[in-house]
Point group: C2
Chain length 368, copies 2
DNA sequence: TCTACCTGATTAATCGTTTAAGCAGAAAAA
DNA sequence: TTTTTCTGCTTAAACGATTAATCAGGTAGA
């Protein structure tokens, strides 16, 4: 029986055409001097034989693996799929593969993950650092995705501006007492978002910040946040800095019989998968991850290119001036004018805000 | 200034010790014949110079890249982080890297993604196929993670058994009219789960199945599911085959003023990130992804090994007998005995079921 | 003492590609 | 005609590891 051939190499093509392997290489890469006719013949023969170049051999020779590393702080973060997808997309578009590394747990694990990627010879890496950590200079180009206020950062969504969008939205709706909900006090991203919301709300609005880590430190994980008390105290806006916290707030308020959005409003961040399908659908702010990923990968490509040219030198962080990408407000049903403290629910019947609800993740009416 | 040395190679070690590169290789790999003393000296020198083997060169020579591919049907699926994490973990434990590929979109994209991975020379791949697709024989070992009822499958959670856990749980609580909620009619996983739930409920329970795709086909994306009507019709159990659908059901019911779990119960599947933190926390069923990933990777390792031994031959799917891994029931607050149709909410005050709530993802009391 | 065998190393080929250098012949410049 | 330049290809040396084959020298058995 016909043995399945190994995938043919350049020598096979060369032999079939009676030329040298170098000529085949030149013909396919378009680099050396090859007559157009021969180049055509080579290409045709390559296709005919089903030639697939060995990226391994190429990597060995050129010193470039064609692979980027993606280091994630906590792979359980629900934002991760979007980031991974965006990076994988952007990388694939320029012919790169993406090797993932989970740095879940402590900083030591993050360093170890980075080293694993380095050993595998990645040409560059995208790092979404753990909260409050900085990425040291390592032996290859690194694009850090964090928040613009983090020193040494390269590419980021403009979390502060996103916060402003939320703040302005709430104040325009008429909210004058807003509770900000964050999870981790030491997160630069969350602090930027909170700062932005406050700035957007302006001086006339009374704000307080609830850190879930603190509440849970006292009440145990998954405990109630005491939002009903806050409503009683006059809070009508609940601006969480993550859709996960927003969801927690929303369900807790609903559970307590407090109408959203008739009485109070809830907003989130990141447009996570569930935000369009919960009832009421969450008003939130989304990052333009496609753009961020494109910028990150493009910056890496430049750095890799530069490293190849001026050999030995530039192996630092890419793109000294941080790129900040604007966020977009997605207004759905969970936000509205603050209502009276009376009946938690409107008259029974169909959901009053029932309407064409935007779908995840591109829809909604993004507002700059 | 001291130029930063390139990372040294075997020849550097060999030269430093006055031996040949082959000896260094043998000493480090423990394969050839090297005197123990020399081997020690080599190891010490290697550490001293900070030697890092070139996986690329090794891959070229041995034909093994040390990389596995991970193909995902839809990277936006919230289950993905858990899968990716589990696979990355299991792979790292055996010294393998993981290259991701997103086959979002159609089957053509899935095929293309697989080809990209093949070109990159992965030694094997883990595929989570799109709904209702089968993975053709490709040129390397493949571990498919799907559901045991899919033909040609290799490793899977026992979705049917997971469904039975939910079904038995609901019937024991006293539910006699249960609505099953699925999203895609053609999903083998969902059909297995639904079958399991029905089996667990037994013959005495009245069941109906609501397919969200159909509802949305009529009402638009994100529309209401009409669950309030179902409650009016006497349904007290709402068993979604995904936590995302469960969340949708939960918020819709809460929004309609229907108490969960006092009046009706809601259960989900997969123990996704939000299930422990919503109020009430979701009763759900989790897959043992760590075990599944370990099995998948182990099967791939065996296949890769076998392929290396009996050269040319076995490049098919691994492990003919499908491994099915038991799922675990996690009882939280969203399920309870069915209540009277009266007051949607109990007396105000602290959440009656407030208790130490298990945290994500390992906690809860898994019940076989 | 002579052959056989074992030990501990070396040599050299190999994986598949890239690329600098070289070379023969033709075309252009002198 | 001679020199120079260009064209189109080949040669050969990498890249860094693995590994089969070989070899020198010591030891043991006959």
């Amino acid at each position: 029986m016909a043995v399945v051939r190994q995938s043919p190499n350049m020598s096979a093509i060369a032999a079939a055409l009676g030329v040298s392997a170098a000529t085949v290489s030149n013909a396919l890469s378009g680099k050396g001097r090859v007559s157009p006719e021969l180049a055509d013949k080579v290409r045709i023969k390559a296709a005919e034989l089903g030639y697939v170049p060995s990226l391994t051999a190429r990597a060995l020779r050129t010193g470039r693996s064609g692979v980027l590393g993606l280091v994630l702080p906590d792979i359980a973060n629900p934002l991760f799929p979007q980031i991974a997808q965006a990076i994988e997309n952007a990388a694939a578009a320029v012919g790169y593969g993406v090797l993932i590394a989970d740095s879940r747990g402590d900083i030591a694990t993050q360093t170890e993950a980075i080293n694993r990627l380095l050993e595998r010879g990645v040409d560059g890496m995208v790092v979404v650092p753990r909260r409050a950590t900085r990425i040291a200079d390592i032996g290859c180009p690194v694009a850090v995705i964090d928040t613009p206020s983090t020193p040494g950062n390269t590419i980021a969504a403009d979390h502060w501006q996103g916060g402003e969008l939320i703040g302005r939205h709430l104040v325009q709706l008429g909210h004058r007492r807003v509770l900000l909900i964050g999870t981790h006090r030491d997160s630069n991203v969350q602090n930027d978002r909170i700062g932005g919301v406050k700035a957007g709300l302006g001086p006339g609005v009374d704000c307080d910040t609830l850190w879930i880590e603190k509440v849970e430190g006292e009440g145990g994980e998954g405990c109630l946040l005491g939002l009903a008390d806050r409503v009683a105290a006059g809070f009508t806006g609940f601006a969480a800095v993550s859709d996960l916290s927003a969801l927690r707030a929303l369900t807790e308020l609903q559970r307590a019989g407090i109408g959203v959005p008739e009485r109070v409003s809830v907003t989130g961040f990141d447009n996570l998968i569930w935000s369009p399908v919960v009832t009421p659908a969450l008003t939130t702010v989304r990052m333009d991850l496609a753009t961020i990923a494109d910028l990150a990968v493009a910056a890496l490509m430049r750095a890799i290119e530069a490293e190849a040219d001026a050999d030995g030198a530039g192996s630092g962080r890419v793109s000294s001036a941080p790129d900040r990408v604007a966020m977009q407000l997605i207004i759905r049903q969970s936000s509205g004018p603050p209502g009276p403290g009376a009946a938690p629910y409107p008259a029974p019947g169909p959901y009053p805000l029932h309407a064409k609800i935007p779908t995840h993740p591109t829809a909604g009416e993004p507002q700059a």
